[in-house]
């Protein structure tokens, strides 16, 4: 079912097959309000005395006294077979089978696989199972860039299956589809709609910091959930360790090479972005000399433009991209297409981006904006291609931090456990 506000009813009328049922939008348990759509309890008061949910106001205001409408859709459209011709490695096939077993038993599953292990391909069997059983499948991620990367791969793998892509800025509600690829925010618009929920990059911002999104994903499905991450959050690791959550673990990349271990260079970062450490140019020159492209991660959006300009002044074909950049999609695409060689960016590209033969430099790696999971993910952008598994990773930092130690430890542990 779709779950929409009264003002949105007209937009979904074309998809509706039966009379929508209204439910109160806000639950009142002895004076304690909670939002029926996102499950949160933080409310603001209007001058009229009504109160509205602060957590999900960005998806349309849920106000006391208003109603949410649950809109039943026509049956699940006929899904086609898996049209992916590739094969899984034995380790991938084993993990994929474990996920299938859990899902068939109706259990949640954590697929813990290092960056570049081929998580998306491992999902194909379980998605194909659910579609063949006539269920709807949601593949969601908190990151819009990850959704944009996943969507074409999934539509190629399920070419005969009606698929809808949803994220802020795209036309909504789309069509009645069997496969939905969306940002996690979009799950606020569904209620018990999916038979299988797959959450990619479950530890990424904003999913990890926003309980409303986890609630929305639970509400949107009445079947099991598969969590995917290279750096799972502690609560999921703990649940898996206690046996409450089935887990498969893949410490090896699909090409069987180990993860590149970051090299730490101590540099002066206090003068950034104005005074750029010479080490950055040396690293970039080294990467370019080996004909590698380079991703330079910076902790602050305001550094992006000056550093890209400084890199151009040093003779590198560099551009910058950040979250509120109007040319964000175009710039990332141009980088994929080899239009330029050095991309200066923030943590928006730390996940879900695969650039073959690409060096990674994290500038000011000691900053609080880079927790251990982010450092691991950024390092995971290097060495993705089988042809170039040893791309260099550099952390340029003013000093050593606990997060950097954790990241190095995690990468080394994965490499050790992945030893054949």
């Amino acid at each position: 079912m779709l779950q929409v506000l009264e003002s949105e009813l007209a937009r979904v009328a074309a998809l509706s097959v039966a009379q929508p049922t209204p439910v109160p939008a806000v639950k009142n348990a002895r004076g304690r309000l909670s939002c029926v759509r996102c499950g949160q309890t933080a409310f603001a008061t209007l001058p009229s005395g009504a109160r509205y949910c602060l957590s999900c106001v960005g998806m349309g205001r849920v106000t006391t006294g208003a109603r949410l409408w649950r809109v039943p859709l026509a049956g699940v459209p006929q899904a086609g077979p898996l049209t992916w011709a590739g094969t899984l490695t034995p380790a991938q096939a084993q993990a994929a089978a474990a996920v299938q077993t859990s899902v068939a038993a109706g259990r949640d599953h954590l697929l813990w696989a290092v960056t570049g292990a081929g998580k998306t391909e491992m999902l194909f069997p379980v998605i194909a199972d659910a579609l063949a059983a006539g269920q709807r499948v949601a593949v969601v991620s908190p990151r819009i860039d990850v959704v944009r990367e996943l969507a074409p791969r999934l539509s190629a793998a399920f070419a005969g299956t009606p698929m809808t892509v949803l994220y802020g800025g795209l036309p909504w509600p789309g069509e009645n589809a069997a496969l939905v690829v969306a940002t996690s925010h979009q799950m606020l618009r569904f209620y018990r709609h999916f038979g299988l929920m797959i959450i990619d990059e479950v530890d990424a911002f904003p999913f990890s910091q926003t309980p409303a999104l986890a609630y929305a994903c639970r509400q949107a499905t009445d079947g099991p959930t598969v969590y995917l991450s290279a750096t799972p959050p502690t609560n999921l690791r703990r649940q898996a360790a206690r046996g409450q959550l089935a887990r498969s673990f893949l410490p090896r990349r699909f090409h069987q090479h180990s993860l590149p271990v970051p090299r730490i260079l101590r540099v002066a970062t206090a003068g950034l972005p104005g005074r750029v450490p010479q080490a950055l140019w040396r690293c970039l020159a080294q990467a370019r000399a080996a004909d590698r492209r380079a991703l330079v991660f910076v902790p602050d959006t305001r550094w992006v433009a000056p550093l890209a300009a400084a890199a151009r002044a040093q003779g590198f074909a560099a551009r910058g991209v950040h979250a509120s950049d109007p040319a964000r999609e175009a710039t990332v695409q141009a980088f994929r297409d080899h239009t330029f060689a050095v991309l200066v960016t923030t943590s928006i590209l730390e996940r879900g981006v695969t650039i073959p033969r690409c060096a990674v430099i994290v500038l000011a790696a000691e900053r609080a904006q880079f927790p251990a999971s982010a450092l691991v993910q950024m390092a995971g952008r290097a060495g993705r291609a089988a042809a170039s598994p040893n791309d260099p990773v550099w952390y340029l930092a003013g000093h050593f931090t606990w997060a950097m130690a954790q990241a190095l430890h995690e990468i080394r542990v994965m490499n050790r456990r992945g030893q054949p």
């Binding site: 209007l46 001058p47 205001r61």
Partner: protein, 219 residues
Amino acid sequence: MTCRWCHRPLTTDFTLAELIGLRPLRLANLCPRCQARFARIDPKTACPGCGRAHSPRLCQDCRRWQARYPSLHHRALFTYSEEMRLFIQQYKGLGHYQLHDAFVAELDLKRRGVALVPLVSEPGHLARRGFDPVVGLFGHLPLSRWLEKTDTAQPQAEKTRRERLATPQSFVATLPARPAARVLLLDDLYTTGRTFYHAQQALRAAGYTGEIHSFSLIR
């Protein structure tokens, strides 16, 4: 306290003058970073008629208005940039009332001897939103609610420029026994000026003889 726009913690540096009470204390609800995201209008180069940015001489639109009505000498603080469009979409479009005091530090208007008259919303919109966006923005000031608006067929935001200019008068003014000598009309947004000049004419029709100027957050 967190910034109303980016929700990051808000820290304020006070000047010595503010601390010892020589200047009135103004607490911003936006962090410096977010304040810089909204594009301000430089009053020195703004149009003397409507406050449009980068038009030091009276602009074409104002010359047309001047043929019909006396000038309002409109002033505005910000341009309708992409960021401001997002703000208005959240505040008025979604009805996110918590944003109403985001610009409270900037909207510190002179109030002595001036009646601050908000251009209130029509009853239908008020009922739907649960608040009046203009009264929300300027709620920290003593407002004189002399104007009332009747329901119109279509909101201004959904109209083209030509349709906006052809909008009929929908304001009715009720003056107090001894109105202030000067009036400052307040609204969130000045687009064509049609609404403001209607408000001016409504006050005149009710017999107001003082000076009428106008002010908005955005031009």
